[in-house]
């Protein structure tokens, strides 16, 4: 019961701040609302007893991605206020499409028998070491593990090349 109330509060705060992310006037406000929304998602991970991903969410999303976005906001703005329209002309089409998708998905999901199911048994406390073992187990996720590092390397090299590639020129 208490859990349900907590959940509703957190979910509401998260959704409202997510909505403000996409509608706020100032870019920096968008970024700060994004931080709140990401934090709400981290709290929901904690609700789902995925402690590891709750802290990783804070560490990676708030600590790194949000900071990266804020730096990018700073690097690409001259004036504080967004002059001109924030939304494209046909924004109501986008609104309708999103609402339709929402309605469609909820209806489709609600016909599924597992929709109202309660939680199963909680995770084993040893799930994280197990996850670590599976990550390097050649029969399980060793390939995704190595591919992830390649992907990260590619992102690092590519982004550095794009962002700081040219020595001369503006900036």
């Amino acid at each position: 019961m208490i859990l349900q109330i907590f959940f509703l509060i957190v979910a509401l705060v998260t959704l409202v701040s997510a909505f403000l992310v996409v509608t706020a006037r100032g870019l920096m406000h968008s970024a700060l609302w994004l931080v709140l929304a990401l934090f709400g998602v981290a709290v929901l991970f904690a609700f789902l007893e995925a402690s590891f991903f709750a802290v990783v969410q804070v560490l990676v999303y708030i600590g790194a991605i949000a900071i990266l976005i804020i730096f990018a906001v700073m690097l690409t703005r001259r004036t504080k206020d967004d002059s001109g329209a924030r939304l494209i002309k046909g924004w109501w089409v986008a609104m309708l499409a999103s609402l339709a998708l929402f309605a469609g998905l909820v209806v489709a999901m609600s016909t599924w028998p597992g929709f109202q199911i309660g939680p199963g048994a909680g995770p084993d406390p040893a799930i994280l070491p197990q996850f670590g073992m599976d990550l390097v187990d050649p029969n399980k996720y060793a390939i995704p593990f190595e591919v992830a590092s390649i992907l990260l390397l590619a992102a690092l090299v590519g982004a550095i090349y794009i962002a700081a590639g040219r020595k001369e020129g503006k900036g």
């Binding site: 590891f52 909680g122 670590g132 390097v136 190595e146 990260l152 690092l156 700081a164």
Partner: protein, 118 residues
């Protein structure tokens, strides 16, 4: 596990609430005599010219970028470190390769000179 997080949640709320309450009390106790000069932005006594938004160097972005990549790396390395004691040598080698690939990225960034402060 949910209990731990409940504790953390209460702790977080309290550690935000108590300083905030202290600020409110201090706001009540302190004098309030605002004036336009006092409330102007402090920039070495010179009147503020233009907007607060100044252009930043792409430098900052590169630091944040390298930090992000290494931070994501920890998602994989922490579970691996937890299971370290039960692992075979081969499994350790896989993680070493993982780290070496990322170390390659770091060396690229250094050789490219983007991590130098200019």
């Amino acid at each position: 596990m949910l209990n731990d997080w409940l504790y953390i949640g209460i702790f977080m709320v309290l550690s935000l609430f108590l300083p905030a309450a202290a600020l409110v009390i201090a706001g009540i106790l302190g004098p309030k005599k605002p004036s336009p000069i006092k409330n102007s932005t402090y920039e070495c006594g010179i009147e503020t010219v233009g907007d607060t938004w100044v252009q930043f160097k792409a430098q900052y972005y590169v630091y944040a970028l390298v930090f992000l990549i290494f931070d994501v790396e920890t998602i994989f390395l922490y579970p691996w470190a937890l299971a370290y004691n039960q692992m075979t040598f081969f499994m350790i080698m896989e993680a070493v390769i993982f780290i070496l690939i990322l170390l390659g990225g770091l060396i690229y960034a250094i050789r490219k000179g983007v991590l130098e402060w200019q």
